[in-house]
């Protein structure tokens, strides 16, 4: 689909309000607006394009892509599938797109509440958009691919996640200057907390409540280093064991959005990061209060 001017178009057909049906128009029809357009699409083709592109955008937004990336990939999909243009509006919990083909357009809203972070989905959808752009995948293929990506199981086993998150928090404890006993306690505490988090996530508990409860569990377990004097650095075990909850992705995405002009989504993500931090503080305060009878 190259934008080559079609010189055989007669002057009568130059008006967009001609009585000809959309499908019988020549390719790259030059309108009175002076632009060249891609071949006209039927209404149902445009419906498919917008719903598929928004499905992709919804997955990106839900699994932690920044707003500019969502816009870019949805735009690439819409134009790659045959539309001339797309205007995309990314909101904190939804996205709106209008696709344009010749003088025709379709608009749709799609909700996309956050569902955590999944880098594999982002990588797959991004890759799919490039394949569509190169003309390797058509609309039918895009639907199949998006279905496959949506149904992808997590790459790593639950137990592997629990173990490695524990190891990571223990490494953080070491970086903070904790001793071996504190690292061991951190490993146990954050592994237990990760298990609790997975269970709560599975039952669709409110995210902020989930974070408070997880931080509480981590704090209770990490307080073992305080109750039994096995470590010289018991405070560091508590500090490191809640790090699995740190809202790193919302905060970095927030900065990226703010710096690139997506102020609304940037503020929403930043505020969510702040709320998560407060939820961690609440959970920890509860655990300190339970184990030591003070703190509030």
């Amino acid at each position: 689909m190259t934008d080559i001017p079609n010189s055989t178009v007669s002057s009568e057909t130059l008006t967009p309000f001609s009585s000809q049906s959309a499908l019988s128009r020549p390719e790259h029809f030059p309108y009175s607006d002076g632009h060249l357009h891609k071949p006209p699409l039927a209404r149902d083709e445009m419906r498919d394009i917008i719903s598929l592109s928004l499905w992709a955008g919804q997955m990106l937004l839900q699994y932690g892509a920044d707003s500019a990336r969502v816009e870019e990939i949805v735009h690439r999909l819409v134009t790659g599938l045959g539309c001339d243009w797309a205007d995309i509006e990314v909101q904190p919990n939804s996205l709106v797109a209008t696709t344009v083909n010749n003088q025709d357009f379709r608009t749709r809203v799609r909700r996309a509440p956050s569902r955590g972070v999944n880098m594999t989905v982002i990588a797959e959808v991004s890759d799919l958009s490039y394949r569509v752009y190169r003309g390797e995948v058509d609309r039918i293929g895009v639907r199949q691919e998006l279905r496959r990506i949506d149904d992808l199981a997590p790459q790593y086993d639950r137990a592997v996640v629990i173990m490695t998150v524990g190891i990571s928090c223990a490494a953080f404890c070491r970086l903070f200057g904790g001793d071996a006993a504190a690292m061991l306690v951190t490993w146990a505490a954050s592994s237990a907390a990760m298990f609790v988090r997975q269970e709560l996530h599975h039952h669709h508990v409110n995210p902020l409540l989930m974070i408070t409860l997880t931080a509480f569990v981590a704090g209770i377990f990490a307080s073992l280093a305080w109750i039994f004097p096995i470590s010289q650095t018991p405070g560091l075990a508590i500090a490191a064991s809640v790090l699995l909850l740190v809202p790193g992705v919302p905060l970095i995405n927030s900065a990226e959005d703010l710096l690139r002009g997506h102020i609304v989504t940037g503020m929403a993500r930043g505020f969510y990061g702040l709320l998560v931090s407060l939820a961690i503080a609440l959970g920890l305060a509860l655990s300190i209060w339970v184990t030591r009878g003070k703190g509030f």
Binding site: G64, A123, Q155, S168, I288, K294
Partner: protein
């Protein structure tokens, strides 16, 4: 500082920074073929920060900015090479630079300030405020550093 001590310090920082990233990369469901690159960038970031702080004599905030900028540019390079979005490498590798300890101490300080009698908290209030400012500045430096390449390279004309 002696060269051997410096070297062992930086290497230790790199090793533990890398270890601290593994769990988060797996939690974020990073594709398997991107895993090693994420760990490498995390080690580079943590090593750069340690090196800046030990030899350059700069504080943790500018050191974080330098480290995060290097991570940002490297994640761009690896994104082109592995044909993957740069977010994967940037965000994952930034994790060991997140100021977890300062954030924790701020949190705890705020809670203690709320519970102590008013005439005894001034010193605690100052420590808490300092920790809070450090947390905010480190996070800001981290984010700006990671985003730096897209600020510099990405110059689309406005579409409307």
């Amino acid at each position: 500082m002696e060269l051997s001590t410096l070297l062992s310090h930086v290497l230790q920082e790199m090793f533990w920074g890398m270890t601290a990233t593994i769990g988060f990369a797996i939690l974020f469901n990073v594709p398997r073929r991107a895993l090693l690159t994420c760990l490498l960038l995390a080690a580079v970031g943590r090593g750069t920060r340690a090196l800046c702080m030990e030899t350059g004599g700069v504080s943790i905030v500018p050191a974080t900015l330098v480290a995060a900028t290097i991570i940002g540019f490297l994640s761009r390079a690896y994104a082109l090479r592995l044909q993957m979005p740069s977010t994967i490498f940037g965000i994952t590798a930034a994790i060991p630079l997140v100021p977890g300890k300062f954030a924790f101490e701020t949190m705890l300080g705020v809670l203690q300030v709320a519970s102590l009698p008013a005439d005894t908290v001034s010193a605690l209030l100052v420590t808490t405020a300092v920790n809070g400012v450090k947390t905010g500045l480190i996070l800001g430096a981290l984010a700006v550093g990671i985003v730096a390449p897209s600020l510099i390279f990405h110059r689309e004309k406005p579409v409307v």
